[in-house]
């Protein structure tokens, strides 16, 4: 997921640190971590720290954490960075989630965002620096106390030792003295050869509570005096509430209140069942409004029409027109990617207690500052009177980057004096999602007489999410996410043009989805590369190797995946191998997927081998877990997922018609880490998802000769072929 202020490569940034006595004694090290929210104020001369390490008198070490834990293991990863340099065991560090609070961030300075597969990338240098600074200050404090040279002291396992005299003091006993030391500058970091934690796979810190039911997600919040309400909004965007049966709803046992907004109502009860039953009895009626005629057909028609025009040019090298005109082989294709719901397993929910002069909000969010602002806008309360209590998120995938549901809940909750948990049912969560845009991509490529690519013209058409979410991030009107993974392919192509046409869908709102631009564009690029390989009469692996630019890391992951998957082996009948190679979120990855396709078109996923080079690896097991889970997330989409519209409403509503992959369908997934520890650190949370659809499409082609250019695949395997868009052959 994208951070609007961080488009382009993440730089190796340096922390700016200050020390102070902690409240209650001990050391409080405050840091501005560049790239994280709050950092921009530093340029204006203000010190607005956005990360905190506290060492109290008892030696307890707390890191106040700004990233949301959504399952990616980031709590553990950042604790490892600090513990490594601070020379403490990992289990001595406690993490606290940073509330959206003026103590932690200046709103004007930026936003708190967890996304963009950027958490580890942002933290890699500065959090190690913060840990190292604290260690050096503790060493200096001990040396001063003992009147010995600082070089004669060592930090080990949460204590400073003086081996010559056998003396030692725990960090807690030195914390206040350390707080009076100046912060070292520069801050030397450990030689990676000395790492004892980074590069290992400890037990994750968040999972014990998740194995016994004690972990608290937003949905699990319980506050004294809390009631529970179910929200339903007009199923057509822009419509309004026309009426409902108040008497019938109030007769349901446990129903307490019914409150409304112009476009929604909430039935509040003593428990969730009263709210659910009460809303059913209320039987709301709607004025569907101007979008009642929106359907998948009208949405696709608009995209097709928009795609006929030239778009914003995102990249232009060489003379594409003349190169295409002189090509020996030319392929013209349209690739289509559907609207998608996020379908995180924890449905949308917000618990609020809005009082005349203040408010508390309990919610799992990737954007706590936006969450607070939503409540401020809804209530008129100043933001500093609103406390956001962030919670574990039961799956983010981009959905919790938006805060619209929090604003809706606040406009409802301010109508009642008591604390109230307001939740969406699964049906509401899917129908009222902010959808991953539909992308309609025209791509034309030409080969020369030696079977080498000479021209490439890729025009994508779809929603620009950034134009709504953070329009200041647009670059001359272009949302770089629309072309991420399209302009910079792994391949050397002499004449290339990329265009993006913004076409906002009527009657629905769009949002990022796991893998963002690369999940969209790499499907198109790697599909077309595969088509060209076959048109050139080349093996798809050979064709890619011939076209790789000067990228030894790309070649390394490709060859590793080929070796591990047994590329070139004789496959049983109906089996096929498909490749996807990409550079996304500053990580290189090659995935080779083996499928088996039955005569009736049924697809079985046999095995995936992914070779990854993400630069320095902090937590190898978490990298493997993210690739495994990311692939399954993307394969689920590629096989099954599409949100369609009729009469202005999403047609899917629950897991019976918005299907999830299940355990019996999941392939064996093997992750091969071939990381270059000297390279720039890359992100990993979305890399697997990016590879899934192209690897699957290419594997199905290898198994059956059927070229799939439209997601999802399963309906096309069983349905009659659509002559426009399932071209087995090139043009």
């Amino acid at each position: 997921m994208r951070k609007p202020h961080q488009i382009g490569p993440v730089l190796n940034r340096r922390a700016i640190l200050r020390a102070a006595l902690a409240t209650g004694g001990g050391l409080m090290l405050s840091g501005v971590i560049p790239g994280l929210p709050g950092a921009r104020a530093e340029a204006a001369g203000a010190f607005t720290p956005n990360a905190f390490i506290r060492i109290d008198r008892e030696g307890a070490i707390t890191f106040i954490m700004r990233h949301a834990e959504m399952g990616q293991g980031i709590y553990t990863g950042v604790a490892m960075l600090i513990a490594e340099e601070l020379e403490v065991p990992l289990d001595k560090i406690t993490l606290e989630a940073a509330p959206a609070d003026t103590r932690y961030v200046d709103k004007a300075a930026g936003e708190e965002v967890t996304g963009g597969s950027a958490s580890t990338r942002d933290s890699w240098i500065p959090l190690r620096q913060a840990g190292a600074a604290a260690r050096i200050m503790l060493l200096r404090a001990a040396a001063a106390r003992w009147s010995v040279p600082v070089e004669s002291c060592v930090a080990r396992e949460g204590a400073i030792l003086h081996p010559d005299s056998g003396r030692s003091l725990p960090y807690g006993a030195l914390a206040e003295d350390a707080a009076r030391q100046t912060v070292p500058d520069p801050i030397p970091l450990k030689d990676p050869a000395q790492f004892r934690l980074i590069g290992t796979s400890p037990q994750r810190m968040d999972t014990h509570a998740k194995s016994n039911g004690s972990a608290l997600f937003g949905m699990d919040v319980r506050v004294d005096g809390m009631k529970i309400g179910r929200i339903m909004a007009c199923p057509v965007k822009g419509g309004t509430l026309a009426g409902f049966d108040r008497d019938a709803a109030m007769k349901i046992p446990g129903v307490i209140d019914i409150i409304t907004l112009p476009d929604a109502l909430a039935v509040i009860g003593a428990h969730s069942w009263a709210a659910i039953s009460g809303l059913r009895a209320a039987n709301p009626q709607w004025n569907f409004g101007r979008n009642a005629g929106v359907s998948s057909a009208t949405l696709l028609e608009a995209l097709k029409n928009a795609s006929a025009k030239t778009g914003l040019v995102a990249k232009k090298t060489g003379d594409v027109e003349s190169a295409l005109a002189s090509a020996s082989t030319r392929i013209d294709a349209v690739y289509e990617l559907p609207f998608l719901a996020h379908a995180a397993l924890e449905p949308i929910n917000t618990t609020l207690h809005i009082r005349p002069d203040s408010a508390d909000v309990w919610v799992g969010t990737q954007v706590p500052i936006r969450a607070r602002q939503e409540v401020a806008d809804a209530t008129g309360l100043p933001p500093e009177r609103i406390t956001v209590h962030n919670h574990l998120i039961g799956g983010g995938f981009g959905r919790r980057l938006d805060s619209n549901s929090i604003g809706q809940a606040a406009r409802l909750a301010k109508q009642v004096p008591y604390p109230v948990k307001l939740f969406w049912t699964r049906e509401e969560d899917i129908r009222q999602d902010q959808f991953r845009p539909f992308y309609y991509d025209r791509i034309t490529a030409g080969l020369d007489d030696k079977g080498m690519i000479k021209a490439w013209h890729h025009r994508t058409t779809g929603s620009f999410v950034l134009a709504r979410w953070a329009p200041e991030g647009l670059q001359n009107g272009l949302d770089s996410d629309a072309v991420e993974g399209a302009t910079e392919t792994p391949y050397a192509i002499p004449a290339q043009r990329n265009e993006a046409v913004q076409c906002e869908p009527e009657g629905l709102t769009t949002l990022w989805w796991r893998g963002v631009g690369p999940t969209h564009n790499v499907f198109v690029v790697e599909g077309m590369i595969d088509e060209l390989a076959h048109a050139a009469g080349n093996d798809p692996l050979t064709f890619r190797r011939r076209h790789l630019g000067p990228s030894p890391r790309g070649l390394k992951v490709l060859d590793e995946a080929a070796k591990q998957s047994g590329w070139g082996r004789i496959l049983p009948k109906g089996h096929g191998l498909g490749i996807a190679l990409h550079y996304s979120f500053q990580s290189w990855a090659a995935t080779i997927l083996e499928v088996r396709v039955e005569e009736n078109g049924q697809i079985h996923l046999v095995r995936a081998d992914t070779a990854v080079d993400c630069g320095p690896v902090v937590f190898p097991d978490a990298v493997r877990a993210q690739i495994q889970g990311g692939l399954i997330f993307g394969l689920t989409m590629a096989l099954y997922n599409e949100i369609t519209f009729r009469d202005g409403q999403a047609e899917q509503s629950n897991f019976h018609d918005y299907r999830m992959m299940r355990l019996n369908e999941a392939p064996d997934i093997r992750v091969h880490l071939v990381s270059d520890p000297t390279a720039e650190i890359g992100g990993i949370g979305e890399v697997g998802t990016v590879a899934a659809a192209p690897a699957l499409a290419n594997a199905i082609f290898a198994a059956t000769g059927k070229r799939l250019r439209r997601i999802p695949f399963v309906p096309q395997m069983n349905a009659p072929k659509n002559p426009e868009n399932t071209g087995e052959k090139g043009a």
């Binding site: 959504m70 039911g213 428990h271 998120i393 699964r426 097991d621 897991f655 999830m660």
Partner: protein
């Protein structure tokens, strides 16, 4: 008012007959480890044991529970098998976001109660009713085998 037996304790609850056990556990008794995911028995996040059998609490009206004992994720670790499954889950680092994992652990424990050494096909049959959106399936399978082999 009715009496239900949850994790070895009797509770008197005054709730409508048609109220699913899920909401009784979560909203009345405060046992929030059992999750709401879909409400139509499609995802398995609400899996509990009723008289030792796995059940979808979102589709089980409290009036049909009767006097059968109910076990939830909060108490499954009190049995040797449940504890072994939880330990295997941690050793294999199965868990990501964690929202579905209460249900996964309950389903896996129920499987191992009847089938102490399950095959991959047994695991497919027992676990395909539980959705994991983070895609931890590869590790769920490994953890079930591990829990079986640690018996």
């Amino acid at each position: 008012m009715r009496t239900i037996l949850i994790n070895g304790e009797s509770h008197d609850v005054d709730v409508p007959d048609d109220m699913p056990l899920l909401w009784v556990l979560r909203d009345i008794l405060g046992l929030t480890g059992t999750k709401y995911g879909c409400g139509i028995a499609q995802c398995g996040a609400c899996t509990v044991h009723v008289a030792g059998q796995p059940a979808r609490a979102c589709q089980l009206p409290v009036s049909l529970v009767g006097d059968r004992p109910v076990t939830t994720i909060e108490a499954i670790g009190q049995t040797a098998l449940g504890q072994r499954v939880q330990e295997a889950w941690l050793e294999e680092q199965v868990i990501q976001c964690g929202y579905c994992q209460s249900g996964q652990i309950m389903a896996a424990t129920a499987l191992l109660q009847t089938t102490p050494a399950p095959s991959d096909d047994d695991i497919d049959d027992a676990m395909s009713g539980n959705i994991c959106r983070c895609g931890t399936y590869v590790r769920i399978r490994a953890a079930i085998h591990k829990a079986a082999s640690n018996a």
